[in-house]
Subunit: 481 residues, 2 copies
């Protein structure tokens, strides 16, 4: 029943049933995704995908976000491709800096697969029937709910065995979202779910290579493809998720069939329904919740366990500044952190930007010196800067099991003998201390400035205003160079 | 090491190292695949895929085999699409009648993913550099070996849990084959294997729907895409198959990591090498065998367990004819078969062609009446023909555990009181009684006649002659209308 229930829930949900906070969460999710896709638009992984797949591009109906950089050093600039390849390539760009959104309960990055597919469809189909901002946001909500709830049904065994849960659930989320946007029937949506479910994309073994960013892009493409095929009558199973040899049982790893069935019913079955036609919003019951409200945004483009130290050191940067001092005046830093932090990111001497993303020490250094950790602080030149290295070498970390993973206690000794202390209880970007709209806007502009230049303010305004636009295509223009 | 070893084995293998019987098996594999792709070219599943995906088609560089039929009843005719969609759509067509080749040890249908990708590439790239028949056959061999050996490493748990092993191994086989055809380096081939491995396509839950035929097509497309991306520098893992969170461990189901590693080494590691540069052919050792020599061809377009009864009844048809009698003179038929036959195909009153493919009784009836079981005998009109039904209703089956799955003992009582008996020890199409070239040619012509008309003889000759052509594109022309 889970497949049918997901399809009928999605089909029946109205915009008027979305609580205001859900709409705002959807806008933030879209806004953050757009910034990441633009910010990642000049990454080599995207350029290679564009170049190698260009012999297959169909009629250009969709603008690639940001600015294209040719893989072979050519002129680049504005590029338009067919909707399928757009979904793939924007999906790659949006994930390539590891800066996109995170549903912390499942560590799914929900926007990549769903928004990449939706925006491509909105521009492709917009010439026939305008797709409004409200239509777009509603589809984004159903897609995010679908992938995160599916993820919860198989978490954590599915991730533990080695699946990249963002894309394995993402193709299905994208199919549900595109089905909603294109107005598929409940039965057609079920077939779309099936065709998407049979394409299971993403092994964790690919982490560290370009192929990691391929995952959300490929999920977006697969979900889009599944939906247009289902709309045209291509048949699948109507029990693709719950059947004995269907999705959850095949990819559910060591979880038993009974457990999987119970979790699937809990998260996607009857009773798990939220926001149905009556518009009453959240019902009672533990599962009657909107996952999109639990979607978080990364303030820093690096492993999430490094966030507390960057947060704390950035605050210390401002404390030092208030005293007329800077990071250069620091004699030593001692930080106590959860053991996992040093286990995963205890790299004392990172050699380049990518290694810097896995270095607790580099995170502390840029926090103290710059008061922030944006993609600029992860460029090779910064990681190799002697001034950064000098501070990095004065930092010590100690594992402390009494701390949470998003917590840190920092003691800074200044050259003049003063001592400063900082206790970060929850790092910014956690559910407890989310990035507010202003912080998200700074992140957007910081990512997009180098790509869009003076258009960045317009782009930001247009994205914030998506709810009121009559034709989503009008936004896309401001997001490209 | 398995990923590297597969890549280097494939990279280093020369045509001169292929034993003559391997070359002949490759030709038969290509020949049979071509017939199936042409024979399936007018199936609705293919027409829907073509119509729904046409908005995304790129520059038409590849001819779709056979004859295109429009999903909406339009003119159809000759169609050309980009190589990626060609791989997908020809792959769908080649599998849609369940008539393609079978590697019996793993029940992989090897040609679909590999040949669909290769022929698309041969025509796409042929305008730059001609691809000869020998190049094509060599690439076909490495692709088939790759997928079947990978399949052996995860068999049977991988299939049992619900993966459609044809396509899950097929994307990797296609990537290895296309890498060989395009001359990728060992490292590039490893990256191609990784990008293909991260796209795991095919749940068995889709059996019975159009999506089953999507699987080999999608595997062909994914493998092709992976290879062109890897050739252009898109990076993946170099241990995609054997890593802790790599392909075999993630999709190996209940098989333990140690078992999987041992099986991977057995089938794909050092020591499993065949036909390396010295051209000596098969080395010693149980695993030093060519899987393509174990590829079999279906004489009948239906479940393989029905083959013995069709085989036996077809022989009885000729025995009756020799006596001046026909199926109409049969009073009763009693067949003893392996219990699985009745369990899987014990449908006494099939309603249409598709149900007929799962009916032991229909199989016996068409054998007696027509002396053959070709796609024509599985048309709705035949399954619903009162004359066929009259004979079908005189057939009884009894499960007999002492028989093999490809064996049957048949007793026929004729109206005049005579009794005929037939013992099929191994059904035709098994490894023991393979379809010979002549039978394969009859199958090809039977499938293709309705599509190609008078061109069918030329098409057959061209396909048999692939080894000596200098440009594979020259063959393709004869395979389209």
């Amino acid at each position: 029943m889970a497949t049918h229930h997901l399809a009928s829930w999605s089909h029946n949900l109205r915009y008027s049933s979305l609580p205001p906070e859900v709409i705002h969460a959807a806008i933030k999710t879209f806004y953050n995704w757009t910034g990441c896709a633009i910010g990642g638009s000049n990454h080599p992984a995207k350029a290679i995908a564009y170049k190698t797949l260009s012999p297959f591009f169909g009629k250009p109906t969709y603008s690639l976000l940001g600015r294209h950089h040719d893989a072979d050093g050519g002129a680049g600039g504005y590029k338009s491709v067919d909707a399928q390849h757009a979904a793939l390539i924007n999906g790659i760009a949006s994930h390539v800096h590891h800066y996109d959104d995170t549903h912390l309960d499942t560590i799914i990055h929900p926007a990549g697969p769903v928004a990449s597919a939706l925006l491509a469809v909105a521009e492709w189909k917009g010439s026939e029937t305008k797709i409004s901002g409200k239509d777009f946001l509603l589809a984004l909500v159903v897609g995010v709910e679908a992938e995160c709830k599916l993820g919860l049904a198989v978490w954590p065994e599915h991730y533990d065995v080695g699946w990249h849960i963002t894309s394995t659930t993402g193709s299905i989320g994208a199919a549900v979202a595109v089905s909603k946007l294109l107005g598929l029937s409940i039965e057609q949506t079920s077939h779309a779910i099936g065709i998407a479910a049979t394409q299971v994309i993403g092994l964790r073994e690919m982490f560290g290579a370009h192929t990691k960013s391929f995952h959300p892009g490929s999920a977006a493409q697969s979900g889009l493809m599944a939906t247009v095929m289902a709309q045209g009558g291509y048949t699948s199973s109507l029990q693709a998720l719950e059947a004995k040899r269907g999705w959850v049982n095949v990819v559910g790893a060591t979880k038993s069939t009974d457990e999987l069935q119970a979790d699937l019913d809990k998260w996607l079955g009857i009773g798990a329904t939220i926001g149905e036609q009556d518009g009453v919003g959240l019902p009672d019951g533990a599962t009657g919740r909107w996952e999109i409200l639990r979607n978080s945004f990364k303030p820093y483009p690096c492993g999430i366990v490094i966030h507390p130290i960057i947060d704390g050191c950035s605050q210390l940067h401002h404390d030092l500044k208030a005293r007329g001092l800077s990071g250069h005046d620091v004699a030593s830093v001692h930080a106590r952190v959860h053991p996992l932090v040093l286990e995963l990111t205890g790299k004392p001497k990172p050699r380049d930007g990518l290694e810097g993303k896995f270095s607790f020490y580099h995170g502390a250094a840029i926090g103290l010196l710059y008061g922030k950790g944006t993609p600029s602080q992860y460029e090779d030149s910064v990681v190799q800067d002697p001034e950064v290295i000098a501070i990095r070498d004065r930092i010590q970390g100690t594992a402390d099991r009494s701390l949470n993973a998003d917590e840190t206690r920092i003691v800074v000794m200044i050259n003049d003998g003063q001592v400063l202390e900082k206790h970060v209880v929850h790092a910014v970007g956690s559910l407890e201390v989310p990035m507010d709209d202003k912080a998200l806007e700074m992140k957007f502009k910081d990512q997009c400035m180098g790509v869009l230049g003076e258009k960045v303010d317009t782009a930001s305004q247009e994205c914030w205003g998506i709810e009121i636009v009559e034709d989503v295509r009008s936004i896309v223009k401001s997001l490209c160079t």
